[in-house]
């Protein structure tokens, strides 16, 4: 699926949201996703990642720009008010 019109959506969120975010990503038709454990610091304080309640995850989805925008809009509406959430997209060129 080589394409120049793809975006990488990166979502950094609280680890507790993992299942919910993944369900949404799949439900909205993304072809795949990658989740990694993450830790860091931000508006919601230091996220140490040394136990489940204190950890973050990074969810990455490569999809069309339109789908990335829809997923981001959905996450913003559902989770932004109550949970730590950071999202951004960058254009990517798929090589395989």
């Amino acid at each position: 699926m080589e394409s120049d019109d793809m975006h990488l959506l990166t979502v950094v969120a609280e680890a507790i949201l993992e299942e919910m975010l993944i369900d949404e990503v799949r439900g909205m038709g993304a072809a795949g996703y990658t989740v990694t454990d993450a830790r860091g610091w931000g508006r919601h304080g230091k996220r140490r990642g040394n136990w489940r309640q204190g950890g973050n995850i990074k969810v990455e989805v490569v999809a069309s720009a339109e789908l990335c925008d829809r997923i981001a809009a959905r996450f913003k509406e559902q989770y932004e008010a109550d949970y730590g959430l950071l999202m951004f997209t960058v254009p990517v060129a798929l090589k395989n």
Binding site: I16, K46, R48, N50, Q53, G55
Partner: protein, 315 residues
């Protein structure tokens, strides 16, 4: 005072955390230790349960659940109207204090084991059952007057299939089926090593709690006082109920400890999903930063003394 040296490992971890030592228990080891503890506690209870009759446990079980459900209902109005905290925070904290802590329970079990005092196996059944009602009550208390989504499905999945309930109940069933004879090959792993693993786990808890202890000032005088007084009130309820139900002294101590303990694994996860408006720093800070250390250092020895005194007075 009854005191078990295993709790000193918590202190060691807390000092390491406060002194910014590079000590860090890897996540995978923390997970493995918690899986071990949950299974071991479940197995111990299951083996003891296999030796007792089940039917007579029904009424005491209901009484233990009913009184346990009172704890969040007592805590909520205190937090809401005395502490003037927002509804979501009051409900979430009430749920944490109504639910139970497996590690606090384990410290009390270790204390009884080191003194050779027996206890009823069904205390572990109560441990499993008591995790849940307070969480549901907390969610309902938060719902009254809030609009946001509750995500019941995800929350219930978290409560029933989250690893704490799942492994405790699983260990309990395996221990019950195996009974005292067939469990023997597993004894060196799950019973003999229990205290050593608990020590390692407490080291990690100390590290985690130290980050909360440092924030305690932020929570204010009210919440810190609540985090110490509430467990004592709950323990008095547990001691009186245990005595009234004719439990052994060891069983009464464990019931008091269960009521007094505040959850910091199951409840934070469930509350974060179901009541996301609540600030998790407040509930985890109080339960892990104040109540957990209070319970393992002073609380459990105090509840031991309470049970001992009541039983020596009552004969």
């Amino acid at each position: 005072m009854a005191f078990d040296p295993v709790v000193l490992f918590f202190l060691l971890g807390a000092i390491a955390g406060l002194a910014k030592s590079d000590l860090k228990i890897p996540m995978a080891i923390y997970e493995a230790l918690s899986i071990y503890l949950l299974l071991a506690i479940g197995l111990m209870g299951g083996v003891k349960l296999a030796e007792s009759e089940l039917l007579p446990l029904l009424l005491p079980g209901l009484a233990v659940l009913a009184v346990g459900s009172l704890i969040p209902l007592i805590a909520f109005p205190v937090l809401r109207w005395v502490g003037r905290m927002p509804r979501a925070d009051s409900a979430s904290i009430a749920a944490h204090y109504g639910s139970v802590s497996v590690v606090t329970f384990s410290v009390a079990v270790a204390l009884l084991a080191s003194r050779g005092i027996d206890y009823e196996g069904h205390m572990v059944v109560f441990l499993v059952l008591l995790e849940m009602p307070a969480l549901i009550i907390g969610i309902l208390l938060a719902r009254m007057g809030s609009k946001g989504p509750t995500r019941w499905g995800k929350t219930m999945h978290e409560v029933f299939f989250g690893k704490s309930i799942f492994l405790l109940a699983g260990g309990l069933v395996i221990g019950f089926i195996a009974g005292p004879v067939h469990i023997e090959p597993l004894e060196p792993m799950f019973f003999d090593l229990f205290k050593g693993v608990l020590a390692l786990f407490l080291l990690e808890m100390g590290l985690v709690a130290s980050s909360r202890i440092a924030d305690v000032r932020q929570y204010g005088f009210f919440l810190v006082t609540f985090a110490i007084v509430m467990p004592i009130v709950s323990a008095v309820l547990g001691t009186l109920l245990g005595y009234a139900l004719g439990m052994s002294m060891g069983g009464t101590l464990l019931l008091a400890t269960l009521y007094a303990s505040a959850s910091y694994i199951a409840a934070p996860a469930a509350m974060r999903i179901a009541v996301p408006q609540a600030n998790p720093a407040l509930s985890i800070g109080a339960s892990l930063g104040v109540t957990f250390p209070f319970n393992i250092f002073l609380g459990v020895p105090l509840y031991f003394w309470m049970a001992q005194t009541l039983y020596s007075l009552g004969g």
